[in-house]
Protein backbone atom coordinates (compact mmCIF):
# COMPACT_ATOMS: atom_id res chain seq x y z
CA UNK A 1 0.00 0.00 0.00
CA UNK A 2 1.16 3.50 -0.76
CA UNK A 3 2.27 5.39 2.32
CA UNK A 4 2.58 9.15 2.64
CA UNK A 5 5.49 10.35 0.52
CA UNK A 6 6.96 12.22 3.49
CA UNK A 7 7.43 9.00 5.43
CA UNK A 8 9.29 7.40 2.52
CA UNK A 9 11.46 10.49 2.10
CA UNK A 10 12.43 10.27 5.77
CA UNK A 11 13.47 6.64 5.42
CA UNK A 12 15.44 7.39 2.27
CA UNK A 13 17.30 10.23 3.98
CA UNK A 14 18.10 7.94 6.88
CA UNK A 15 19.56 5.38 4.44
CA UNK A 16 21.49 8.13 2.65
CA UNK A 17 23.13 9.25 5.90
CA UNK A 18 25.19 6.04 5.87
CA UNK A 19 27.14 7.13 2.81
CA UNK A 20 29.62 9.92 2.11
CA UNK A 21 27.60 10.71 -1.04
CA UNK A 22 23.79 10.48 -0.90
CA UNK A 23 23.60 9.20 -4.48
CA UNK A 24 24.95 5.88 -3.12
CA UNK A 25 21.54 5.42 -1.50
CA UNK A 26 19.71 5.13 -4.82
CA UNK A 27 19.52 1.32 -4.65
CA UNK A 28 18.28 1.19 -1.05
CA UNK A 29 15.88 4.05 -1.86
CA UNK A 30 14.43 2.28 -4.90
CA UNK A 31 14.01 -0.85 -2.78
CA UNK A 32 12.12 1.10 -0.11
CA UNK A 33 9.97 2.81 -2.73
CA UNK A 34 9.15 -0.48 -4.45
CA UNK A 35 8.09 -2.06 -1.15
CA UNK A 36 5.73 0.86 -0.57
CA UNK A 37 4.24 0.82 -4.05
CA UNK A 38 2.98 -2.75 -4.18
CA UNK A 39 6.13 -4.38 -5.51
CA UNK A 40 6.86 -2.15 -8.48
CA UNK A 41 8.09 1.34 -9.33
CA UNK A 42 5.40 3.51 -10.90
CA UNK A 43 6.49 6.97 -12.17
CA UNK A 44 5.53 8.63 -8.88
CA UNK A 45 7.85 6.28 -6.99
CA UNK A 46 10.75 7.34 -9.20
CA UNK A 47 9.83 10.98 -8.56
CA UNK A 48 9.74 10.42 -4.81
CA UNK A 49 13.17 8.75 -4.84
CA UNK A 50 14.55 11.52 -7.04
CA UNK A 51 13.13 14.25 -4.81
CA UNK A 52 14.56 12.68 -1.67
CA UNK A 53 18.05 12.28 -3.12
CA UNK A 54 18.28 15.33 -5.39
CA UNK A 55 18.27 13.20 -8.56
CA UNK A 56 16.01 13.39 -11.60
CA UNK A 57 13.28 10.76 -12.10
CA UNK A 58 14.98 9.88 -15.40
CA UNK A 59 18.21 9.13 -13.57
CA UNK A 60 16.32 6.93 -11.09
CA UNK A 61 14.62 5.09 -13.93
CA UNK A 62 17.94 4.58 -15.74
CA UNK A 63 19.40 2.99 -12.61
CA UNK A 64 16.29 0.93 -11.83
CA UNK A 65 16.09 -0.49 -15.34
CA UNK A 66 19.59 -1.94 -14.99
CA UNK A 67 18.73 -4.20 -12.06
CA UNK A 68 16.54 -7.31 -12.27
CA UNK A 69 14.96 -6.88 -8.85
CA UNK A 70 13.36 -3.55 -9.75
CA UNK A 71 10.10 -3.78 -11.64
CA UNK A 72 8.98 -0.98 -13.90
CA UNK A 73 5.68 -2.76 -14.65
CA UNK A 74 3.10 -3.93 -12.09
CA UNK A 75 3.63 -7.38 -10.63
CA UNK A 76 1.20 -9.75 -8.93
CA UNK A 77 0.67 -9.90 -5.19
CA UNK A 78 2.96 -12.93 -5.19
CA UNK A 79 6.16 -13.09 -7.19
CA UNK A 80 7.21 -16.65 -8.04
CA UNK A 81 10.67 -16.97 -9.58
CA UNK A 82 12.19 -20.26 -10.69
CA UNK A 83 15.95 -20.53 -11.17
CA UNK A 84 16.68 -22.10 -14.56
CA UNK A 85 20.44 -21.67 -14.63
CA UNK A 86 22.75 -24.67 -15.10
CA UNK A 87 22.77 -26.36 -11.69
CA UNK A 88 18.98 -26.16 -11.35
CA UNK A 89 18.44 -26.92 -15.05
CA UNK A 90 20.42 -30.16 -14.76
CA UNK A 91 18.12 -31.47 -12.03
CA UNK A 92 14.71 -30.54 -13.38
CA UNK A 93 14.14 -26.76 -13.24
CA UNK A 94 12.14 -26.89 -16.47
CA UNK A 95 9.69 -29.39 -14.93
CA UNK A 96 9.27 -27.15 -11.89
CA UNK A 97 8.69 -24.09 -14.07
CA UNK A 98 6.13 -25.98 -16.15
CA UNK A 99 4.35 -27.14 -13.00
CA UNK A 100 3.91 -23.49 -12.00
CA UNK A 101 2.74 -22.64 -15.55
CA UNK A 102 0.08 -25.36 -15.31
CA UNK A 103 -0.99 -24.48 -11.78
CA UNK A 104 -1.22 -20.75 -12.47
CA UNK A 105 -2.32 -20.90 -16.12
CA UNK A 106 0.31 -18.37 -17.22
CA UNK A 107 3.67 -18.38 -18.96
CA UNK A 108 6.91 -16.99 -17.50
CA UNK A 109 6.86 -13.20 -17.61
CA UNK A 110 3.07 -13.06 -17.20
CA UNK A 111 0.73 -12.11 -14.36
CA UNK A 112 -2.54 -13.90 -13.61
CA UNK A 113 -5.72 -12.01 -14.54
CA UNK A 114 -6.70 -11.61 -10.88
CA UNK A 115 -3.34 -9.95 -10.15
CA UNK A 116 -2.48 -12.75 -7.73
CA UNK A 117 0.73 -14.08 -9.23
CA UNK A 118 3.60 -13.12 -11.47
CA UNK A 119 5.76 -16.01 -12.70
CA UNK A 120 9.35 -15.50 -13.82
CA UNK A 121 12.41 -17.52 -14.67
CA UNK A 122 15.56 -16.16 -13.03
CA UNK A 123 19.30 -16.64 -13.31
CA UNK A 124 21.37 -18.50 -10.70
CA UNK A 125 19.95 -17.72 -7.25
CA UNK A 126 22.91 -19.09 -5.29
CA UNK A 127 21.17 -22.14 -3.85
CA UNK A 128 22.62 -24.74 -6.23
CA UNK A 129 23.29 -27.23 -3.42
CA UNK A 130 19.53 -27.54 -2.89
CA UNK A 131 18.29 -27.28 -6.45
CA UNK A 132 15.68 -26.53 -7.75
CA UNK A 133 15.52 -23.09 -6.10
CA UNK A 134 12.27 -21.17 -6.23
CA UNK A 135 12.04 -17.66 -4.84
CA UNK A 136 8.58 -16.84 -3.53
CA UNK A 137 8.08 -13.17 -2.67
CA UNK A 138 11.87 -12.90 -2.56
CA UNK A 139 12.32 -15.71 -0.03
CA UNK A 140 13.90 -18.95 -1.20
CA UNK A 141 12.19 -22.32 -1.11
CA UNK A 142 14.82 -25.00 -1.66
CA UNK A 143 14.69 -27.65 -2.94
CA UNK A 144 11.40 -27.63 -4.87
CA UNK A 145 10.21 -30.63 -6.91
CA UNK A 146 7.41 -30.46 -9.48
CA UNK A 147 5.12 -32.35 -7.08
CA UNK A 148 5.61 -29.62 -4.41
CA UNK A 149 4.19 -26.93 -6.68
CA UNK A 150 0.41 -27.35 -6.16
CA UNK A 151 0.82 -27.07 -2.36
CA UNK A 152 2.96 -23.93 -2.69
CA UNK A 153 0.37 -22.26 -4.90
CA UNK A 154 -2.47 -23.34 -2.61
CA UNK A 155 -0.63 -21.98 0.43
CA UNK A 156 -0.11 -18.61 -1.27
CA UNK A 157 -3.71 -18.43 -2.44
CA UNK A 158 -4.87 -19.29 1.08
CA UNK A 159 -2.84 -16.46 2.58
CA UNK A 160 -4.52 -13.80 0.46
Amino acid sequence: MTQPAGELAGEIRKAAAQYPDSRSAVLPALRLAQERHGGWLPPEALREVGDALGLTPAYCQAVASFYDMFHLQPVGRHLVEVCTNLSCALVGAQQVLEAFERELGIEPGETTDDGGFTLRAIECAGGCGKAVVVSVDERYREPVRPEDVPAIVEELRGGD
Binding site: S24, L27, P28, F66, D68, N85, S87, R139
Partner: protein
Protein backbone atom coordinates in the same frame (compact mmCIF):
# COMPACT_ATOMS: atom_id res chain seq x y z
CA UNK B 1 40.53 -36.82 3.07
CA UNK B 2 41.97 -33.32 3.28
CA UNK B 3 39.03 -31.82 5.15
CA UNK B 4 39.96 -28.81 7.21
CA UNK B 5 37.49 -26.17 8.12
CA UNK B 6 38.45 -22.58 8.67
CA UNK B 7 35.65 -20.36 7.48
CA UNK B 8 32.99 -22.90 8.47
CA UNK B 9 34.82 -24.24 11.55
CA UNK B 10 32.42 -25.41 14.31
CA UNK B 11 29.40 -24.28 12.31
CA UNK B 12 28.00 -27.82 12.41
CA UNK B 13 28.15 -28.12 16.22
CA UNK B 14 27.17 -24.62 17.29
CA UNK B 15 24.90 -21.77 16.34
CA UNK B 16 27.66 -19.34 15.46
CA UNK B 17 25.18 -16.64 14.49
CA UNK B 18 25.07 -15.96 18.24
CA UNK B 19 27.91 -13.78 19.44
CA UNK B 20 28.40 -15.75 22.68
CA UNK B 21 28.79 -19.00 20.75
CA UNK B 22 31.30 -17.46 18.38
CA UNK B 23 33.26 -16.06 21.32
CA UNK B 24 33.14 -19.46 23.03
CA UNK B 25 35.23 -20.95 20.20
CA UNK B 26 37.76 -18.12 20.41
CA UNK B 27 35.95 -15.66 18.18
CA UNK B 28 37.16 -12.04 18.16
CA UNK B 29 40.42 -13.03 19.93
CA UNK B 30 42.27 -12.51 16.65
CA UNK B 31 40.77 -9.02 16.49
CA UNK B 32 42.10 -8.20 19.97
CA UNK B 33 45.50 -9.51 18.93
CA UNK B 34 45.41 -7.57 15.64
CA UNK B 35 44.56 -4.27 17.29
CA UNK B 36 47.71 -4.54 19.42
CA UNK B 37 49.78 -4.92 16.25
CA UNK B 38 50.90 -2.18 13.91
CA UNK B 39 48.84 -2.10 10.68
CA UNK B 40 51.90 -2.97 8.56
CA UNK B 41 52.27 -6.19 10.54
CA UNK B 42 48.78 -7.32 9.47
CA UNK B 43 49.64 -6.80 5.81
CA UNK B 44 52.95 -8.63 6.36
CA UNK B 45 51.09 -11.64 7.73
CA UNK B 46 48.71 -11.58 4.76
CA UNK B 47 51.68 -11.47 2.39
CA UNK B 48 53.37 -14.35 4.24
CA UNK B 49 50.16 -16.42 4.09
CA UNK B 50 49.91 -16.13 0.29
CA UNK B 51 46.12 -16.09 0.74
CA UNK B 52 44.73 -15.84 -2.79
CA UNK B 53 41.38 -14.20 -3.43
CA UNK B 54 38.49 -16.66 -3.30
CA UNK B 55 36.16 -14.67 -5.53
CA UNK B 56 37.53 -16.18 -8.73
CA UNK B 57 40.65 -14.36 -9.82
CA UNK B 58 42.96 -15.76 -7.14
CA UNK B 59 44.99 -12.57 -6.67
CA UNK B 60 46.99 -12.54 -3.41
CA UNK B 61 45.17 -10.41 -0.82
CA UNK B 62 48.36 -9.20 0.86
CA UNK B 63 49.71 -7.85 -2.42
CA UNK B 64 46.44 -6.10 -3.18
CA UNK B 65 46.52 -4.51 0.27
CA UNK B 66 50.15 -3.43 -0.20
CA UNK B 67 49.23 -1.59 -3.43
CA UNK B 68 46.90 0.81 -1.57
CA UNK B 69 47.95 4.41 -2.14
CA UNK B 70 49.29 6.09 1.02
CA UNK B 71 49.27 9.74 2.06
CA UNK B 72 46.55 10.78 -0.36
CA UNK B 73 44.67 12.77 2.25
CA UNK B 74 41.57 10.76 1.35
CA UNK B 75 39.95 8.02 3.42
CA UNK B 76 40.76 4.40 2.60
CA UNK B 77 37.81 2.05 2.06
CA UNK B 78 37.35 -1.67 2.46
CA UNK B 79 34.67 -3.21 0.23
CA UNK B 80 33.66 -6.79 0.79
CA UNK B 81 32.34 -8.43 -2.33
CA UNK B 82 29.32 -10.41 -1.15
CA UNK B 83 27.54 -10.13 -4.50
CA UNK B 84 27.94 -13.86 -5.08
CA UNK B 85 26.24 -14.65 -8.39
CA UNK B 86 28.56 -16.84 -10.43
CA UNK B 87 26.33 -19.72 -11.61
CA UNK B 88 27.05 -22.73 -9.41
CA UNK B 89 28.44 -20.73 -6.49
CA UNK B 90 26.76 -20.63 -3.07
CA UNK B 91 29.65 -20.60 -0.59
CA UNK B 92 29.55 -16.97 0.55
CA UNK B 93 25.87 -17.24 1.36
CA UNK B 94 26.61 -20.22 3.60
CA UNK B 95 29.49 -18.44 5.35
CA UNK B 96 27.26 -15.41 6.02
CA UNK B 97 24.31 -17.53 7.12
CA UNK B 98 26.27 -19.78 9.45
CA UNK B 99 29.33 -17.81 10.50
CA UNK B 100 28.57 -14.10 10.14
CA UNK B 101 30.82 -12.96 12.98
CA UNK B 102 33.85 -14.49 11.30
CA UNK B 103 33.23 -12.25 8.31
CA UNK B 104 32.73 -9.24 10.57
CA UNK B 105 35.91 -10.07 12.50
CA UNK B 106 37.77 -10.42 9.19
CA UNK B 107 36.46 -7.01 8.11
CA UNK B 108 37.58 -5.35 11.33
CA UNK B 109 41.07 -6.90 11.25
CA UNK B 110 41.51 -5.99 7.59
CA UNK B 111 40.25 -2.46 8.23
CA UNK B 112 42.89 -2.10 10.96
CA UNK B 113 45.55 -3.46 8.59
CA UNK B 114 44.78 -0.92 5.89
CA UNK B 115 43.99 1.90 8.34
CA UNK B 116 40.41 2.23 7.19
CA UNK B 117 37.40 3.31 9.24
CA UNK B 118 34.86 2.53 6.54
CA UNK B 119 33.73 -0.92 5.48
CA UNK B 120 31.03 -1.55 2.89
CA UNK B 121 29.70 -5.05 2.42
CA UNK B 122 28.09 -5.21 -1.03
CA UNK B 123 25.56 -7.96 -0.40
CA UNK B 124 23.71 -9.69 -3.19
CA UNK B 125 20.16 -8.27 -3.32
CA UNK B 126 18.46 -11.66 -3.53
CA UNK B 127 20.15 -12.87 -0.33
CA UNK B 128 17.45 -11.74 2.12
CA UNK B 129 18.33 -14.54 4.53
CA UNK B 130 22.03 -13.65 4.60
CA UNK B 131 21.16 -9.97 5.02
CA UNK B 132 18.95 -10.72 8.04
CA UNK B 133 21.68 -12.79 9.69
CA UNK B 134 24.44 -10.29 8.91
CA UNK B 135 22.38 -7.35 10.14
CA UNK B 136 21.62 -9.04 13.45
CA UNK B 137 25.25 -10.13 13.92
CA UNK B 138 26.51 -6.65 13.12
CA UNK B 139 24.11 -5.15 15.65
CA UNK B 140 25.37 -7.57 18.32
CA UNK B 141 28.98 -6.75 17.47
CA UNK B 142 28.20 -3.05 17.69
CA UNK B 143 26.51 -3.41 21.08
CA UNK B 144 29.54 -5.34 22.35
CA UNK B 145 31.76 -2.40 21.30
CA UNK B 146 33.71 -4.58 18.90
CA UNK B 147 33.50 -2.10 16.04
CA UNK B 148 35.54 0.58 17.81
CA UNK B 149 35.76 3.54 15.38
CA UNK B 150 34.90 1.51 12.27
CA UNK B 151 31.55 1.78 10.48
CA UNK B 152 30.32 -1.28 8.63
CA UNK B 153 27.51 -0.69 6.12
CA UNK B 154 25.57 -3.54 4.57
CA UNK B 155 24.77 -2.36 1.07
CA UNK B 156 22.26 -4.49 -0.80
CA UNK B 157 22.49 -5.02 -4.53
CA UNK B 158 19.42 -5.37 -6.71
CA UNK B 159 20.02 -8.24 -9.13
CA UNK B 160 22.92 -7.81 -11.54
CA UNK B 161 25.65 -10.43 -12.00
CA UNK B 162 28.08 -7.83 -13.29
CA UNK B 163 28.15 -6.06 -9.92
CA UNK B 164 30.37 -8.89 -8.66
CA UNK B 165 33.03 -7.44 -10.97
CA UNK B 166 35.00 -5.09 -8.73
CA UNK B 167 34.78 -1.88 -10.74
CA UNK B 168 31.08 -2.43 -11.53
CA UNK B 169 30.55 -3.04 -7.83
CA UNK B 170 32.06 0.38 -7.10
CA UNK B 171 29.88 2.05 -9.74
CA UNK B 172 26.81 0.40 -8.25
CA UNK B 173 27.83 1.36 -4.72
CA UNK B 174 28.16 4.95 -5.90
CA UNK B 175 24.54 4.81 -7.08
CA UNK B 176 24.94 4.18 -10.80
CA UNK B 177 24.20 1.45 -13.30
CA UNK B 178 26.71 -1.32 -12.65
CA UNK B 179 29.00 -0.86 -15.62
CA UNK B 180 32.71 -1.63 -15.26
CA UNK B 181 35.34 1.10 -15.30
CA UNK B 182 38.43 1.18 -17.47
CA UNK B 183 41.63 0.40 -15.58
CA UNK B 184 44.04 1.91 -14.73
CA UNK B 185 43.49 3.50 -12.34
CA UNK B 186 43.02 0.42 -10.18
CA UNK B 187 40.84 0.58 -7.07
CA UNK B 188 43.91 0.52 -4.83
CA UNK B 189 44.70 4.00 -6.17
CA UNK B 190 41.28 5.34 -7.13
CA UNK B 191 38.33 3.20 -6.09
CA UNK B 192 35.22 4.13 -4.15
CA UNK B 193 34.59 7.90 -4.40
CA UNK B 194 38.02 8.20 -6.01
CA UNK B 195 39.74 6.98 -2.86
CA UNK B 196 42.12 4.07 -2.27
CA UNK B 197 39.96 0.95 -1.92
CA UNK B 198 40.60 -2.68 -1.12
CA UNK B 199 38.02 -5.10 -2.50
CA UNK B 200 37.94 -8.74 -1.42
CA UNK B 201 35.53 -11.63 -1.50
CA UNK B 202 33.60 -12.84 1.59
CA UNK B 203 35.55 -16.05 2.00
CA UNK B 204 38.89 -14.29 1.60
CA UNK B 205 38.04 -11.80 4.35
CA UNK B 206 36.55 -14.54 6.54
CA UNK B 207 39.92 -16.35 6.40
CA UNK B 208 41.85 -13.39 7.81
CA UNK B 209 41.14 -14.10 11.52
CA UNK B 210 42.85 -17.49 11.24
CA UNK B 211 45.90 -15.96 9.57
CA UNK B 212 46.26 -13.46 12.40
CA UNK B 213 45.60 -16.09 15.05
CA UNK B 214 48.02 -18.72 13.72
CA UNK B 215 50.35 -16.64 11.58
CA UNK B 216 50.83 -16.24 7.85
CA UNK B 217 53.55 -18.87 7.73
CA UNK B 218 51.32 -21.49 9.29
CA UNK B 219 48.62 -20.80 6.72
CA UNK B 220 51.08 -20.86 3.82
CA UNK B 221 51.94 -24.47 4.69
CA UNK B 222 48.38 -25.76 4.22
CA UNK B 223 47.91 -27.44 0.86
CA UNK B 224 49.93 -26.69 -2.26
CA UNK B 225 52.67 -24.07 -2.09
CA UNK B 226 51.26 -21.88 -4.86
CA UNK B 227 47.64 -22.08 -3.65
CA UNK B 228 47.69 -22.54 0.10
CA UNK B 229 44.76 -22.87 2.46
CA UNK B 230 41.23 -24.08 2.29
CA UNK B 231 38.38 -23.23 -0.01
CA UNK B 232 34.68 -23.90 0.26
CA UNK B 233 33.85 -25.98 -2.79
CA UNK B 234 30.24 -25.56 -3.96
CA UNK B 235 29.28 -28.90 -5.47
CA UNK B 236 26.12 -29.05 -7.58
CA UNK B 237 24.41 -30.59 -10.59
CA UNK B 238 24.15 -34.33 -11.20
CA UNK B 239 25.79 -35.54 -8.01
CA UNK B 240 24.44 -37.62 -5.11
CA UNK B 241 25.45 -35.25 -2.29
CA UNK B 242 25.53 -31.65 -3.54
CA UNK B 243 26.51 -28.96 -1.04
CA UNK B 244 29.36 -26.88 0.32
CA UNK B 245 32.55 -28.63 1.42
CA UNK B 246 35.47 -26.76 2.90
CA UNK B 247 38.62 -28.63 1.89
CA UNK B 248 42.30 -27.95 1.44
CA UNK B 249 43.15 -26.64 -1.97
CA UNK B 250 44.72 -29.36 -4.07
CA UNK B 251 42.00 -31.92 -3.33
CA UNK B 252 41.67 -34.14 -6.41
CA UNK B 253 38.56 -33.56 -8.49
CA UNK B 254 37.77 -37.30 -8.35
CA UNK B 255 37.77 -37.26 -4.54
CA UNK B 256 35.37 -34.31 -4.44
CA UNK B 257 32.92 -35.68 -6.98
CA UNK B 258 33.00 -39.38 -6.07
CA UNK B 259 34.17 -39.83 -2.46
CA UNK B 260 32.68 -36.68 -0.95
CA UNK B 261 29.89 -36.03 -3.43
CA UNK B 262 28.89 -39.69 -3.74
CA UNK B 263 29.28 -39.81 -7.51
CA UNK B 264 26.62 -39.63 -10.18
CA UNK B 265 23.03 -40.57 -9.25
CA UNK B 266 21.28 -43.65 -10.60
CA UNK B 267 24.45 -45.24 -11.97
CA UNK B 268 24.72 -42.77 -14.83
CA UNK B 269 27.97 -41.87 -16.54
CA UNK B 270 29.86 -38.66 -15.87
CA UNK B 271 30.04 -36.55 -19.02
CA UNK B 272 31.63 -33.25 -18.03
CA UNK B 273 32.62 -31.07 -15.09
CA UNK B 274 32.67 -27.30 -14.82
CA UNK B 275 35.29 -26.69 -12.09
CA UNK B 276 34.73 -23.11 -10.96
CA UNK B 277 31.32 -21.78 -11.98
CA UNK B 278 29.91 -21.35 -15.48
CA UNK B 279 32.56 -18.77 -16.38
CA UNK B 280 35.28 -21.40 -16.18
CA UNK B 281 35.82 -23.78 -19.07
CA UNK B 282 34.50 -27.32 -19.14
CA UNK B 283 36.59 -30.35 -18.20
CA UNK B 284 36.11 -33.99 -19.19
CA UNK B 285 36.17 -37.27 -17.18
CA UNK B 286 39.74 -38.06 -18.30
CA UNK B 287 40.80 -35.06 -16.17
CA UNK B 288 39.37 -36.35 -12.89
CA UNK B 289 42.84 -36.67 -11.40
CA UNK B 290 43.38 -32.93 -11.63
CA UNK B 291 44.10 -31.34 -8.27
CA UNK B 292 41.75 -28.51 -7.43
CA UNK B 293 44.05 -25.57 -6.84
CA UNK B 294 44.61 -22.43 -8.89
CA UNK B 295 47.74 -23.61 -10.71
CA UNK B 296 46.81 -27.26 -11.30
CA UNK B 297 43.41 -26.42 -12.80
CA UNK B 298 45.07 -23.78 -15.00
CA UNK B 299 47.60 -26.38 -16.17
CA UNK B 300 44.65 -28.61 -17.08
CA UNK B 301 43.38 -25.83 -19.36
CA UNK B 302 40.60 -24.48 -17.16
CA UNK B 303 40.26 -22.21 -14.14
CA UNK B 304 39.48 -22.82 -10.46
CA UNK B 305 37.38 -19.63 -10.44
CA UNK B 306 35.03 -19.58 -7.46
CA UNK B 307 35.52 -23.34 -6.86
CA UNK B 308 31.95 -24.06 -7.90
CA UNK B 309 32.05 -27.58 -9.29
CA UNK B 310 29.07 -28.37 -11.53
CA UNK B 311 28.72 -32.06 -12.38
CA UNK B 312 27.07 -32.99 -15.67
CA UNK B 313 25.89 -36.50 -16.48
CA UNK B 314 25.50 -38.25 -19.82
CA UNK B 315 21.94 -37.05 -20.40
CA UNK B 316 22.94 -33.43 -21.11
CA UNK B 317 23.15 -32.13 -24.66
CA UNK B 318 26.23 -29.93 -24.70
CA UNK B 319 24.80 -27.59 -27.32
CA UNK B 320 21.82 -26.95 -25.04
CA UNK B 321 24.20 -26.46 -22.12
CA UNK B 322 26.32 -23.97 -24.10
CA UNK B 323 23.16 -22.20 -25.24
CA UNK B 324 21.65 -21.91 -21.76
CA UNK B 325 24.94 -20.70 -20.36
CA UNK B 326 25.35 -18.16 -23.17
CA UNK B 327 21.82 -16.86 -22.58
CA UNK B 328 22.99 -16.03 -19.06
CA UNK B 329 25.91 -13.94 -20.34
CA UNK B 330 23.69 -12.21 -22.89
CA UNK B 331 21.25 -11.34 -20.10
CA UNK B 332 24.00 -10.13 -17.78
CA UNK B 333 26.15 -8.24 -20.29
CA UNK B 334 26.04 -4.62 -19.10
CA UNK B 335 26.02 -3.32 -22.68
CA UNK B 336 29.03 -1.05 -22.36
CA UNK B 337 31.46 -2.84 -24.70
CA UNK B 338 30.31 -3.70 -28.22
CA UNK B 339 32.07 -7.09 -28.56
CA UNK B 340 30.35 -8.40 -25.42
CA UNK B 341 26.95 -6.76 -25.96
CA UNK B 342 26.66 -7.87 -29.60
CA UNK B 343 28.79 -11.00 -29.35
CA UNK B 344 26.76 -12.66 -26.58
CA UNK B 345 23.56 -12.04 -28.58
CA UNK B 346 25.15 -13.45 -31.72
CA UNK B 347 26.42 -16.51 -29.83
CA UNK B 348 22.90 -17.19 -28.57
CA UNK B 349 21.43 -16.87 -32.09
CA UNK B 350 24.00 -19.26 -33.58
CA UNK B 351 23.71 -21.81 -30.76
CA UNK B 352 19.91 -21.67 -31.03
CA UNK B 353 20.07 -22.42 -34.75
CA UNK B 354 22.56 -25.19 -34.10
CA UNK B 355 20.35 -26.78 -31.44
CA UNK B 356 17.33 -26.70 -33.76
CA UNK B 357 19.37 -28.33 -36.53
CA UNK B 358 19.04 -25.28 -38.76
CA UNK B 359 22.69 -24.22 -38.75
CA UNK B 360 24.94 -24.66 -41.75
CA UNK B 361 28.52 -25.85 -41.50
CA UNK B 362 30.05 -22.39 -41.82
CA UNK B 363 27.97 -21.17 -38.89
CA UNK B 364 29.85 -23.42 -36.49
CA UNK B 365 33.05 -21.76 -37.68
CA UNK B 366 31.31 -18.40 -37.40
CA UNK B 367 30.45 -19.16 -33.76
CA UNK B 368 34.13 -19.67 -32.98
CA UNK B 369 35.03 -16.57 -34.95
CA UNK B 370 32.55 -14.49 -32.93
CA UNK B 371 34.15 -15.82 -29.75
CA UNK B 372 37.59 -14.94 -31.06
CA UNK B 373 36.45 -11.38 -31.67
CA UNK B 374 35.31 -11.07 -28.06
CA UNK B 375 38.27 -12.63 -26.25
CA UNK B 376 40.54 -9.99 -24.77
CA UNK B 377 38.56 -7.16 -26.34
CA UNK B 378 36.28 -6.03 -23.50
CA UNK B 379 36.78 -3.80 -20.45
CA UNK B 380 35.98 -6.54 -17.96
CA UNK B 381 36.16 -10.32 -17.89
CA UNK B 382 32.48 -10.99 -18.71
CA UNK B 383 33.13 -11.01 -22.45
CA UNK B 384 36.06 -13.39 -21.97
CA UNK B 385 33.96 -15.66 -19.75
CA UNK B 386 31.12 -15.77 -22.26
CA UNK B 387 33.34 -16.53 -25.23
CA UNK B 388 35.83 -18.79 -23.45
CA UNK B 389 33.25 -21.25 -22.18
CA UNK B 390 31.64 -21.59 -25.63
CA UNK B 391 34.99 -22.19 -27.33
CA UNK B 392 35.67 -25.09 -24.97
CA UNK B 393 32.18 -26.62 -25.31
CA UNK B 394 32.49 -26.47 -29.08
CA UNK B 395 36.06 -27.79 -29.08
CA UNK B 396 35.85 -30.56 -26.49
CA UNK B 397 32.43 -31.71 -27.70
CA UNK B 398 33.01 -30.94 -31.36
CA UNK B 399 31.57 -34.24 -32.51
CA UNK B 400 28.30 -33.59 -30.66
CA UNK B 401 28.09 -30.08 -32.12
CA UNK B 402 28.78 -31.51 -35.59
CA UNK B 403 26.01 -34.09 -35.24
CA UNK B 404 23.47 -31.27 -34.80
CA UNK B 405 24.41 -30.11 -38.30
CA UNK B 406 24.77 -33.53 -39.91
CA UNK B 407 21.52 -34.89 -38.48
CA UNK B 408 19.57 -31.67 -38.91
CA UNK B 409 18.50 -31.64 -35.27
CA UNK B 410 19.45 -32.48 -31.70
CA UNK B 411 20.80 -36.05 -31.51
CA UNK B 412 19.20 -36.37 -28.07
CA UNK B 413 15.80 -36.14 -29.77
CA UNK B 414 14.04 -34.54 -26.81
CA UNK B 415 15.70 -36.80 -24.19
CA UNK B 416 18.37 -34.37 -22.97
CA UNK B 417 18.21 -33.41 -19.28
CA UNK B 418 18.20 -29.78 -20.44
CA UNK B 419 15.46 -30.16 -23.05
CA UNK B 420 13.41 -27.00 -23.49
CA UNK B 421 15.08 -25.16 -20.63
CA UNK B 422 13.64 -21.66 -20.44
CA UNK B 423 15.87 -18.65 -19.79
CA UNK B 424 15.13 -15.12 -18.53
CA UNK B 425 16.17 -13.76 -21.94
CA UNK B 426 13.32 -15.82 -23.46
CA UNK B 427 11.03 -14.08 -21.00
CA UNK B 428 12.00 -10.65 -22.30
CA UNK B 429 11.46 -11.83 -25.88
CA UNK B 430 8.14 -13.27 -24.78
CA UNK B 431 7.06 -9.97 -23.25
CA UNK B 432 7.85 -8.32 -26.59
CA UNK B 433 5.56 -10.78 -28.37
CA UNK B 434 8.25 -12.81 -30.14
CA UNK B 435 8.25 -16.57 -30.66
CA UNK B 436 10.25 -18.13 -27.85
CA UNK B 437 9.93 -21.85 -28.22
CA UNK B 438 10.84 -23.98 -31.16
Amino acid sequence: MATREITLAHADERDLTKLAEYEAIGGYKALQKARKLKPEKIVEELLASNLRGRGGAGFPMGRKASFLAKGTGKPTYLCVNADESEPGTFKDREIMLRNPHRLIEGCLITAHGIESQHVFVYLRGEYHDAFDVMRAALEDARKANLLDDVTVVLHRGAGAYICGEESALLESLEGRRGQPRPRPPFPAVSGLYGSPTLINNVQTVATVPTIIEKGGEWYAKLGPEQSPGTVVFSLSGNVVRPGNYELELGTPLRELVFDIGGGIPDGRELKAIIPGGSSTTVMTPDQLDTHLDFNSVAEAGSQLGAAAVIVIDERACMVQLALRSSQFYMHESCGKCTPCREGTRWMVQLLSKLEKGRAEQHELDLLLSVCDRMLGKCLCALGDFAAGQVVEYATRFREEFQRHIDEGGCPFAGESSLEGIFAPVDQHAHAAGAEVRA
